[in-house]
Amino acid sequence: MKRTAFLGTLTAATLLGGGAFAAEGDTLAEVKARDELICGVNTGLVGFAAPDANGNWAGFDIAVCKAVAAAVLGDPSKVKYVPTTGQTRFTALSSGEVDVLARNSTWTYSRDTDLKLDFVGVNYYDGQGFMVNKDLGVTSAKELDGATICIQTGTTTELNLADYFRANNMSYQPVNIDSNAEGEQQYMAGACDAYTTDASGLAATRAAFADPENHIILPEIISKEPLGPAVRHGDNNWGDIVRWTLNALIAAEEYGVTSTNLEELSANSANPEVQRLLGTSDELGAMMGLDNEWAKRAIAASGNYGEIFAATIGEQTPIGLARGLNAQWTQGGLMYAPPFR
């Protein structure tokens, strides 16, 4: 940004002191004028968002940002990633600092209503699980009565844990930790019998251990954590763009559209749904103020939903997450894109 604008904004701030809450403008127009999508992301979560040694961001959530940038601006690299912490993420979004928040945030009632966010969909169905050392001889979370449990403070997982143990009439001794890294350290040092966090995080943590075979993730999933991208209330068109970009990625997997056969299918697919998706028939893009090839570019950015999953967190990666709930509805999962019509 231009530093000469500092003083200008400073006075503007004083003049407008107490001024109106920010941004109910036209996000699409803003993004296009800026020629850059500002995407709020995690400060670092294995598989979901992390910069490499050269500062290039990659991950499951990052792929959503790239797809939206490709759909809107035609270039998946035109994204500015704004790292947000658990405390700053929603304010960053509602104050207009970021255009979209793709930061493994759980879609909950109060966040959707009270915090005035719009969760546009779910890109990962997570749930809270437990990891224990094999030597403990526990095979079910129901046997954890009286256990010490490492738990990250200030998160929904803390509340879920309390709910679960109360519902099952069990007691536990919490060991409060501040971050995932600290949790691993405490768990490895034997400060707690079990470590609880989102199942995706547990899998990544376990995979990074020197001795993963000595630790098991218990089968119980004690909470629903639908993670998805969010936008502000009040700009429905922008919400539609992000929602349908995500849906396009999911639908592309369902219809077998991949980043490799994309060109071929857009030229000669007989499936009318694919034709509409890729913009060879009808004018779907124009309905949200985009051109007709928006979905095609979104899919080209990092592939369809399945490809993104496989490349960032899937079974071929060290994290090795199975599709599970995140499989297509045709495969027994929950990924279900509404029709493109």
Binding site: A23, G55, A181
Partner: protein, 484 residues
């Protein structure tokens, strides 16, 4: 009577005996041990306990340090190397993570090909500081400048600085060494210009922005100069008004026009590309440089007899000291966004610097107020008796002594503030301690690395803070003029 005495003293020695070496039990290592470590039963027990604790620590951590791996691609590979070299059960430090990511710990996301810019800016910092910090000792100043010049140039060459920049850096740094020998006060001109130069080098962009700020300040000074004969108060108001008016309404447009006429820009860097120690040092240096003058003004205001000035200073100091720094940072990063018009981008580092500065200034004010209070009343009366006005009395008599008394407190506020810069992690900036480490660990290759980044950043923080502490001791010694 005199005869009596003459007979009783048959011999008077007229030369001194040569000095004997002390007895063996009073010298050497053995004596030192006995005097310092085993001088009594309690001391002996404490010594043995101390040794046991040291032994306990070393025996627990030695193997971890000894089994250090520096060359590996990932933590898994580190573990394999450790297992292969020192046996299956061995544990060891995986410093390879530092080796692979050190540049992010130092510079964050600053573009790699531009690393020379922060390095040269950091080298220039010493040039700017030398005449201020080492104003009296030619020898120390010479050493500092020569070491800084050599280190800056070598490092710049190592990171591949382009030739024009190398020449520029060499001219400034070698020029500073030469000027410092002959006429050190001239370097103060560079010190005054450094804030603008440093900002330009770190953030890049058009140099006209900085030049127009400079011109605004110069014109403001001119306005002050022209009107100072009429009335000093009007002159100050005129100077400030001219500067502010130019900055707010003219400087921005003028800079853009000039830029379109004569392009004078280097690659612009966004604030979110800052990280690691570059971020900490930028915030730390700016905070230190700004909080000291602000703290002095607040301290004087708090001791002032003027009702409003006094009460405002008290409210400011007590309010800022009453809230945690983290709250101020959240205000800077979150609350401000609601009040700014949408779409404006009020630089986050600038916001953080402002908050850190006022936080440190509030503490600084109290430290300096302590120094002012410690000064004997006679000094104030002496200043009055000399017929000095308020500002002259403060500048020539009160503050030099009060500040000298407050040096330890001031420097410890600085050190505390510098360490507090790591708190910026909570507003989404990448501080070296947690911010960088978190995303390094978020890469699967380094997930599970825990102590190594902490030890690395801790060591660098220690070096910087320890240097500040040693400097403050040097300064105290140098300024020691009172009765010993």
């Amino acid at each position: 009577m005199s005869e009596l005495h003459a007979q009783t003293v048959p011999f008077v020695r007229d030369t001194m005996l040569p000095q004997q070496p002390p007895p063996n039990r009073e010298t050497g290592a053995l004596h030192w041990l006995r005097a310092n470590l085993f001088s009594g039963p309690i001391n002996t027990i404490l010594t043995i306990l101390g040794l046991l604790i040291i032994w306990f620590l070393v025996s627990h951590f030695w193997d971890w340090f000894a089994h250090s791996v520096w060359n590996a691609e990932s933590l898994t590979q580190c573990r394999e190397i450790i297992a292969a070299t020192w046996g299956e059960d061995a544990r060891g430090a995986c410093w390879a993570v530092i080796r692979e990511r050190w540049h992010q710990y130092m510079f964050g996301f600053y573009p790699r090909e531009l690393y020379f810019r922060p390095i040269i800016a950091f080298g220039f910092l010493f040039v700017a500081l030398a005449p201020v910090l080492f104003s009296e000792s030619v020898r120390i100043r010479r050493i500092v400048l020569i070491v800084a010049a050599a280190a800056t140039l070598i490092l710049s060459v190592m990171v591949g600085a382009p030739l024009p920049w190398l020449v520029f850096a060499a001219i400034v740094m070698i020029g500073a060494v030469v000027v410092a020998e002959r006429n050190a006060p001239w370097l103060l001109i560079f010190s005054a210009l450094y804030p603008l130069l440093g900002v330009w080098m770190l953030w890049g962009g058009s140099a006209w922005g900085e030049l127009s700020v400079l011109a605004s300040v110069a014109l403001g000074w001119l306005a002050w100069r022209l009107s100072v004969r009429i009335s000093p108060l009007i002159a100050v108001i005129a100077g400030v008004a001219v500067t502010l008016a130019l900055l707010l309404f003219v400087a921005g447009d003028a800079a853009e026009d000039l830029q379109s006429l004569i392009p004078l820009d280097i690659t612009a860097i966004d604030s979110d590309q800052f990280g690691g120690f570059l971020l900490s040092i930028t915030i730390g240096v700016a905070g230190i440089a700004l909080s000291l003058p602000l703290g002095i003004i607040l301290a004087l205001a708090r001791r002032s007899d003027m009702f409003l000035v006094n009460k405002l200073a008290v409210v400011f100091i007590e309010f800022i000291r009453g809230v945690p720094l983290i709250t101020l940072l959240f205000v800077a990063s979150l609350l401000l966004n609601y009040f700014l018009p949408p779409g404006t981008n009020f630089d986050i580092i600038l916001r953080v610097i402002i908050m850190v500065t006022i936080f440190a200034a509030a503490y600084m004010a109290e430290v300096i107020r302590g120094g002012l209070a410690a000064l004997p009343k006679g000094q104030y009366e002496a200043a009055d008796a000399l017929g000095l006005d308020y500002w002259k009395a403060q500048r020539l008599i009160i503050l030099p002594q009060a500040l000298k008394i407050s040096i330890p407190g001031i420097v410890s506020t600085f050190i505390g503030m510098f360490k507090d810069t790591t708190l910026v992690v909570f507003v989404g900036l990448f501080d070296p301690l947690k911010g960088i480490s978190d995303f390094v660990r978020a890469n699967f290759a380094w997930k599970g690395v825990y102590w190594e980044p902490f030890i690395f950043t801790g060591a660098i923080f220690f070096i910087i803070c320890f240097s500040m502490s040693r400097y403050s001791m040097y300064l105290e010694r140098r300024l020691q003029r009172d009765h010993r």
